[in-house]
């Protein structure tokens, strides 16, 4: 699966898909593969205010628990309720139906500080030591 170019990426493997002043956040295909079968996601409530780098929630796979961090600052406007019943959407469609939250961006230029798809791919190469 190639890394979508219309997203921006954090080193902790979350992506933001910006659309005006709304950012949709999920985890990357690499991250879901590393985690394995996702069985439970804990997400913030609508209205929660987050700063970039704040804990966004946690994601439990059969293997382990991982923390999620918000790559951007803003207010949560929507949470993907489908993940309650089908957390495996994160495994099967990380870029699409496996999204986690939508955030009203406090500062849309914050997104520009994150990695581009190309930069993220390079980052992955380095991280996995190829």
């Amino acid at each position: 699966m190639s890394t979508p170019e219309d997203n921006r990426y954090a080193k902790s493997h979350e992506y933001v898909h910006p659309d005006g002043d709304i950012g949709t956040i999920g985890i990357t295909d690499y991250a879901q593969k590393e985690l394995g079968d996702v069985v439970f996601v804990e997400l913030p409530q609508v209205g929660a205010e987050l700063e970039a780098g704040d804990e966004l929630g946690s994601i439990e796979s059969v293997k382990a628990v991982s923390e999620l961090f918000s790559p951007v600052s803003g207010t949560v406007t929507e949470v993907n309720d489908a993940l309650t019943e089908k957390p495996d959407l994160i495994n099967t469609d990380p870029w699409g139906d496996g999204w986690m939250v939508r955030i009203k961006l406090k500062d849309p230029t914050e997104v520009d500080e994150l990695m581009t798809a190309e930069e993220y791919d390079e980052y992955l190469e380095k991280e996995s030591g190829h």
Binding site: G36, F40, E60, S61, K63, A64, V65, S128
Partner: protein, 363 residues
């Protein structure tokens, strides 16, 4: 993720070829999964899976006083074994705590084969050697001479049968045969760590890849450590280092059935006799989560803000489709139905003590 500092089993290359995601497991490079823990777990519950457990240690105990040594060093009654029979037992400290939890196979009245946890092999061997001082018994750490494969699941017998020269149907639970597999000498026992029917096969390292490959080709799904953990936890089988260790006794760990106080003296007996009479102050119990969340090893159990217990194992149970775990609790909080609170990342999360095992196969 090749790492040359890690020990490798004879199946290492085959596992990589089969697509295993390799991890460092106590200094061994082993697959945590191949194509997903849930799928591998399900294969073992419904058909058959194959695990490389060659990292496990093997120790032979031979000589006229082999039985005396094992009776003194372990909590189960070794005199009850006959040739071709194995049992699960505790190798104990004088405190009653576990040096290790092990299997003892009786090959002959003066010849025993011990299977021990990989990371405890050297410790167990030294402990047994000390205990053997003055006894006419010969101990050998034969771990490098054996690979071990576990084939587990309702189809295990059918899949394994063509490759071994003995009738598997004739091997009852916790019995074994010294036979051959793919033409090479092997010990085959009806044992396992999954709560499912199945076999464990001990054979020479150089023979192991051929047998594993044959079993995979015959339909056994390669399984990693991840599924091994969810399977054993559903069956409430203890994991040394998580659920039991040197600070926990078999009675606290709810393993009273491996403690035979009436067999005569053994190391740790005094402490266990007292615990049996007074009741242990804590007990290992199963719980399931009521609130959402998964309790993991080391998470505290709190009562009125005070830490009263600790989670030793916890996962999402693929068979039950809920979060389960094991925890040490004070005896008065350990009854089935008791609601407990697990501190998950700072949040008190409700769970309930339930009967175990969580999963029991239909027989």
């Amino acid at each position: 993720m090749a790492d040359d500092s890690l020990k490798k089993t004879p199946l290492n290359q085959l596992e990589k070829d089969l697509g295993g995601s390799m991890v460092d497991f106590g200094g061994w490079e082993l697959p945590v999964l191949y194509d997903g823990i849930l799928k591998e777990h399900d294969a073992v519950r419904t058909s058959a899976g194959i695990f490389d457990v060659s990292h496990m240690g093997e120790i032979t105990v031979r000589g006229p006083q082999a039985l005396d040594l094992l009776q003194m060093a372990t909590s189960n009654d070794v005199s009850k074994l006959d040739d071709g029979r194995a049992h699960y037992t505790g190798l104990l400290y004088p405190s009653g705590g576990f040096v290790d939890d092990i299997l003892i196979y009786r090959m002959a009245a003066d010849d025993y084969f011990l299977v021990v946890n990989a990371s405890n092999t050297d410790k167990d061997f030294e402990w047994l050697q000390q205990a053997a001082a003055g006894l006419d018994v010969e101990l050998k750490n034969v771990s490098p001479e054996y690979a071990q494969l576990a084939i587990q699941g309702p189809l295990a017998e059918r899949i394994l049968q063509p490759f071994v020269d003995t009738s598997l149907a004739a091997i009852k639970y916790y019995r074994f045969a010294s036979t051959s597999a793919c033409g090479a000498a092997a010990i085959v026992s009806r044992t396992g760590y999954t709560g499912e029917d199945g076999f464990e096969v001990y054979l020479a390292p150089e023979q192991a890849p051929h047998l594993m490959k044959s079993l995979v080709d015959a339909g056994a799904k390669p399984c990693g450590l991840g599924a091994r953990d969810t399977l054993r936890l559903e069956a409430k089988m203890a994991l040394y280092g998580n659920d039991i260790d040197e600070t926990t006794t078999p009675l606290e760990a709810d393993l009273g059935w491996i403690v035979k106080l009436d067999k005569g003296d053994f190391t740790g007996r005094d402490v266990l006799a007292k615990q049996a009479a007074d009741g242990p102050r804590r007990k290992l119990v199963g719980f399931e989560m009521i609130d959402r969340g998964i309790a993991r090893h080391g998470y505290p159990i709190v009562t009125d803000g005070e830490e009263t217990g600790v989670v030793t194992s916890g996962t999402h149970s693929p068979s039950l489709k809920k979060a389960i775990g094991l925890a040490y609790l004070p005896l008065d909080e350990s009854a089935h139905g008791t609601e407990i609170r697990v501190l998950i990342r700072g949040k008190e999360t409700l769970a309930r003590v339930v009967p175990t095992p969580f999963y029991k196969r239909a027989r």
